[in-house]
Structures are given as C-alpha cells and as structure tokens.
C-alpha cells in the first residue's frame, strides 16, 4: 500500500495546512474587511468611491476596504455575468442593472436582504423612505413583491437636455410661433410642459443644412432638432419605445400578472402599435446616424455635447459630461426639463417612462462579517448627509426627505426635473429570461428603426416570440 499511504499522508498534510490558512484568514478579518465590488465606470460610481475614500468611518471599528472594479458600460453585463456564472465568487457587492435581478436570483447568486432589513430598524426606515417606484424597480423580485434584493445605488430617469442659445433666440422664437402657433420651449418650466407634439415640431423646425442660419449664425455643418436613443445595443431602443407604448395605453408582457397574463394581444395590441408608430414618426427629425441603428445613449449624448442637436432626451447619469467645458461645446448653454409626455384629450400629460438607475446587490457567498460591514456601508451611503453630497456632486437620491428639500434643485440644472419624474417611472421585466426578451426585442425594434418593417409586424414578431419563450418557461399558461 505504498502509493496509497503516501497519498493519505499528503492529504492529511494538505488538510492541516488548509485549516491553518482558513483559521488565519478568520483571525485577520476581525480587523480588516475587504468588500470587492463590480460597478459600471461612470460618474455616479466614481463619486461613490471618492466619498468612501475621503469620508467613510465604519461604526464597527474595523478597517473596511472597498476594492472596486470599474467596468465600462458596454462590457458591464457580460463581465458580471461571466464572473457570476463561472463560479469564481469574486464580488461581494455588485451594482446591478435592475432587469438582471431575476436571472441572478434564480441562479443563486444574489442574496435576499429581507432579513437584514427586518433586523435593522434604521435600515428599514431608510428603505421605507425610498420612493416606491424606485424601490420596486431596484429591489424586488418577482417585480413589485415584498421580496427585496437590492439597495438603490444610483437612481436615474430620462430628462430633456436643451440648448438655451438656440431655443431662446428671439428670431427662432418668432419663426417657431409663426409656423406652429405655439411657443418654442426655452426655459426649464416650458420644457417641463412640453408634449411629444411640441417635441416633434422642435425636431422639424431645427432641421438645418450646412450654410443655413441658426440663431443668427451661418452653420458650417448640418444641424438637427432632436435626438433620442434608438440603438440596437443593450436596451438602447427598448427604453424609449416602452415609454411610448405605455403612454398610448399599450403594454409590455406584465410579469406581475403571470401566469395568466399573455404577451400576444398585449405586446401587439392596437394601442401598443400606435405607441410604437408614434416613436418611429419622430426618427426622421433626428441626426442621420439613427438610420444606421447605432444611435444609443452615448451617441445621442455626444451629438448633443458637440452642438449638433437642439434637444436630446437621455439619462441623468450621462449629464455631468455636458456641464464640463472640456467635454462639451454647449456647457454654458444648458437647460433641462422633464422628458416629454403624451397629452391626452383632457389636456393632461402622461409621462409614464422606463426607469433607469441601478441597485447594489449582495452576493450569496458574502460572509456574515462582510455583510455586517456592507450593511454599515449601505446605511452610510443612504444617509441624508451623504445623499445630499452625492446629489450635489452629480448623483441623485430617491429618499423623500432628501429630494423634497428645497435646496435639492439648486445642486445641478437637471435636479429640478427629478422629483416630478419619479411618480411616472416603471420598469421592464425582472424575470430570468429578460436577456432573451431584450435581445429579440432590440433586434426587432432595430428592423423598424432602420425602416425594414412596420410597427405592426415588429410587435407581432415580438409577441409571438415572447409567448413561445414564456410558455416554455412556465410563466404563461
């Protein structure tokens, strides 16, 4: 038994060494706790890391290190997905897009946090002070049930970015009034009151060729009125189309009605088709890149910052760059307001919109020690003082006492649109199949956006696909 004895001896030695090692780690972590975090690389997370390094003092007396992986947005899902599914168990804390919840909860990666909330009255109070639309979108799976998985990291909505120098020019104002018999929106309040019709007029009105005049100056390049995401990547047309569909009274497959709710007849209902057609109608007034199907949130933002469009609808998360003269040609000409909505026969505007933003989630392999520190960190992050600083530094807060404070709107020019947008926010699916739903839908929307098929065919195809997929998954009976 020579070989076997050798192996046995080796195994004993190895297990002894392992015991020593594990014991050593436990001992060390009583003093120093490292939280490894995956976050998208953009201002809201950079600010968070900066605040943490400068200000965070854990109440437990431990030394807490925040080890942050900043991942570029276009790769973010793929990288996080690869890390989670490969089983490397690298991250304790992940800034997750809200739609991912189902996929990663079902996979056993995201930790349910109801017990943490219930055990900590302070945290419970904080979660309850959150705007319900934000809490449902970022924390719940199944969507809008009291099963919590996430703490809001950065809440986000779509707002209208405008160029004051063009919109408020007296000649342009007069010409617009003469042409459409309405006032060209110029101030933040006027943009707030804007509906899709006015937005469309702005688009049509400001289509100028090279050599034409714009606000009294001769253009050296073509100029366009409006821009709004209509790209094939990730969710860069879903976010805009969903808003139109909802505002027209149509719908997407509603997971809260599973398993009796259907995709067929809802996704492709006449109202939904009407909403999609309305969106497609606006595309002809947008910069030509929209016809290539690659005008995503970054492209439209860049067009705006380069001074090629009068108005752009985009996430607040990207707005910081437009304020900086180094990255923006329009830094001193900005005006912000609510995203437009659909004016009903009663004159009221429906602004139902796809919510943006991300929650923090904890992973299931995070140790109790790390969880304790993570909760401490989240409580600090969601404390009014830090939330106010975050908003002042370009972030947003979904905590009522923070965003309803009068000083909130003075931080950044877009903050005035924040509180009023919140009530209108809705989210897409949180189900594990979301990425299949999303890619197929994006492919189909792309065909419509680039003029290959009409709205009805598009939504019929989507409905058929979703009905089939969700039936197989048991989510539709």
């Amino acid at each position: 038994m020579t070989a076997m004895t050798k192996v046995k001896g080796l195994a004993t030695a190895a297990s002894f060494a392992a015991t020593l090692l594990v014991g050593g780690v436990t001992y060390a972590s009583a003093e120093e706790v490292t939280l490894t975090m995956a976050v998208p690389d953009w201002p809201p997370t950079r600010i968070m890391k900066k605040f943490f390094d400068e200000q965070y003092k854990p109440k437990s007396g431990n030394t807490v290190k925040l080890d942050v992986d900043f991942i570029p947005w276009p790769d973010f899902y793929t990288r996080v997905n690869a890390s989670l599914t490969s089983g490397e168990k690298k991250y304790n804390f992940i800034v997750s897009d809200s739609q991912w919840l189902g996929a990663f909860v079902e996979g056993g990666y995201f930790r349910k946090i109801n017990d943490l909330i219930d055990a900590d009255p302070e945290l419970k109070a904080t979660m309850e002070s959150m705007h319900p639309a934000v809490l449902n979108a970022y924390s719940t799976y199944p969507n809008s049930t009291p099963n919590y998985y996430g703490f809001p990291q950065f809440p986000d909505v779509l707002v209208t970015y405008g160029r004051k120098d063009v919109l408020c020019n007296a000649d342009e104002q007069a010409a617009f009034k003469a042409k459409y018999n309405e006032k060209l929106p110029c101030t933040g309040e006027e943009i707030d009151a804007m509906d899709w019709n006015t937005f469309e007029h702005v688009g049509e009105f400001f289509q100028r060729k090279k050599g034409d005049k714009l606000a009294g100056q001769v253009l050296d390049d073509d100029f366009y009125g409006i821009a709004y995401q209509a790209g094939k990547g990730y969710d860069f047309s879903t976010s805009s189309v969903h808003s139109f569909v909802w505002q027209h009274g149509g719908g997407i497959w509603d997971e809260t009605k599973a398993p009796t709710g259907h995709a067929e007849g809802v996704v492709n209902s006449p109202k939904s088709i009407e909403g999609m057609e309305h969106f497609l109608k606006l595309l002809k007034f947008m910069p030509p890149v929209v016809k290539t199907g690659t005008m995503d949130i970054f492209v439209s933002d860049q067009l705006f910052r380069e001074g090629k469009v009068a108005m752009n609808i985009d996430w607040i998360g990207l707005a910081e760059a437009s304020l900086d003269p180094k990255t923006s040609k329009v830094a001193d000409k900005l005006v912000f307001g609510l995203a437009p909505g659909l004016r009903g026969p009663d004159g009221k505007v429906n602004r139902t919109s796809q919510i943006g933003g991300q929650p923090f989630v904890l992973t299931t392999w995070t140790t109790p020690e790390q969880i304790k520190e993570a909760v401490g960190f989240v409580k600090w992050w969601l404390s009014p003082d830090i939330q106010n600083q975050f908003a002042a530094g370009g972030g947003q807060s979904a905590i009522k006492s923070v965003y309803s404070d009068p000083k909130y709107v003075t931080y950044r020019p877009w903050d005035r649109a924040w509180a009023n947008s919140l009530d209108w926010q809705k989210d897409m699916w949180h189900v594990p199949q979301f990425f299949e739903l999303l890619t197929q839908q994006q492919d189909q929307y792309d065909l419509a956006i680039t003029g290959k098929q009409d709205a009805k065919t598009t939504l019929d195809n989507i409905a058929k696909f979703q009905e089939d997929l969700l039936k197989n998954a048991g989510l539709i009976q």
Binding site: A3, V289, T292
Partner: protein, 353 residues
Amino acid sequence: MTAVSSTLLTPRLTTVVAHNWKLAIAVAVVVSAISMAGLPAAVSFWVVGATAALVAAAFTVNAYRRHYFGALLVAPAIAVLFVMNIFPLLWSLGLSFFAYQANQQTIRFVGLGNYTRILTNDLAAHATWGALINTAMFVVFTVSAQMIVGFLLAILFAKQFPLRKYLLILVLTPMMLSVVASGVFFTYYYDPTFGILSYVINSISGNQFILMSNKVGAVAGIVFADAWMWSPFVMLLVLAGLVSVPKYLYEAAAIDRISSWRQFWMITFPYIRGLLMLALLFRTIEAFKLADLVILLTKGGNDTLTISYHLIRIANEQNKTSEGAAISYLMLFMVIVLTNLYLYLANRRTQGA
C-alpha cells in the same frame, strides 16, 4: 530501449508496487465512485482529482522503470494539451446533449435536442441559418478582398523603390493594431455626422450619405475594415514567396524572351502557390469566426449577424450554454470540412503539376 524494458516484468493486478498502473486505475475507479456517491460535490471533486493524480503517478513510475524516456519527455505537453484543450472540447461536446444554462443549477439530458432546435425550430433555426448565410457571405467577400489586395501589395513591394522599407512598415501597421481600436476608428470614419466619408460624399453629391443604413453599405463597411486590417498579412506571406524565387530563372526567361505573363505563371506562381494556399486557409478560418468588427460597427444590424456573434449572444449573454455548445460544434464541423476541402484541392493541384 525495448531490450531494457522487457527486463521489468508486468506485475499481477493485486501486487502493490508503484508501477502497477492497472491497480492504480482500479483503485481510482472504486474510490472515485464511492466518493461521488457518498461525499458532497465540493469534496469528491478533489478526491477524484487525487485519484487521477495517483494514476498519472503510477504511469510515470512505470514509464521510468521501463526506460520509456521519450514518452516521459512528451508527457507534460500531452497533459497540458489534454487539460487545456481536449478535455474542454469533450466537455462541451457532452454539454451539447444536455439542456443546461450557466446561470441556473439544473441539467437535463436532451440527446440531439439542441441540434434539432438550432437547425429546425422555426424561431431558433431562422437565426442560425441567417447567421450562417451571412457568415458565408463575409468569408467570400473579405477573403477575396484580402487575397487580391494582399497579392497586389506583395507584387508592388517585391520591387525595389525609394522609401520601400518605411512604406512597408506603414502598410503593416493595421495588422498590428488591436481590432477594437480599428473598429472604433472605422465607426467614426463611417459616421454620417462626424465621419470624413460622409463629409466628402455629401460635399460632392449634396445629399446626405449614410453608409451603414442598408445591408449593402453595412457589409461593404465591414469588409473594407477587415480587408484593411488583414490584407497586410496576406501580403507578408506572398512576399516571402516572391523573394524566394531565384533570380537566375528570370534571367534565363529573359534570354528566352518569354512574356512577363508566362514568366509569372511558369516561374513566380509555383513558388508562391503554397503560401497563397496557406494565406487562404488562415484567412478563411479567421473570417469564419468574424464577430469583433460586426459588434463594433453594426451590432448585427442591417442583417449582418454572423454565426460567431450569434454564438456569443446565445452562450454568453443569454446563458444558453448547451445550445451555444451545439452551435460551436456546428461551426467546428464546418471549419473542418472547409479546411480539408482546401487541403485536398491544394494537394491535388500539386500532384497534377
């Protein structure tokens, strides 16, 4: 070596000596089976690993005592190849017969279900076939563009002219750049608002020109970018062939007053044919796997989805691991068939000549 090895007698199965590999295998099988049945997966994983190491150790001792030194020297390479290449290949082949998703913990045997699904299911098969047809189209266009441009460049650079060395370095640069960098460069190049292409055409025609707004334009854009990047590679190979042609053959041909066209076919071409075939083979296999440029330039829009990008979406984004494995085996099969076809044709030509 054989004479020495025969001195070591093969032990009986039950004899416990370090080189008794049959016993090692028997022990490994029994211990693995018991541990898999009785221990939690995390522990049995290491037990099975240890038994595999035991078998390997027995084989090593056996080979050493029998003086099979050649085999011992090759063994590490074979082991690495097995662990890094063959095992994953077989593992994914196995996966393709199951319904498995990387982000869910369930697994179910479905036989050929994944293959029938990707080839015949009316929703999934449509995407697969569309992607395959697009891939074939890209293979034909990009490879022929690269072969022609690369070949012409090689003819040019085979001659001596001023600044040749520097121009050669310049021409080779695209090949050395990262694909992502070139892809981003081409997105701006083709952009209708910021790009120079639209700017030039707009100022000539007066109309707004958008290259990537239809299939023809999008394909042309991708093919151009790919040819820009990889023609230098073909050129490099062909150039190596061209400079290897002995000068005296041309001199003899000149004395015989043979036309330059015949010189090319009789002298130059036989020297570069093998290298041309090699370039064709390399580029075809690479073109078959085209995904990066498509992702960067169109995201698969305008019907430019290739099979590789389709595979990335299925396996990495949607986590349909086993369906992805089935698609990759479909791809592997096609590449192998294509490669063998090339080699067959190349060999037949050589024999015929």
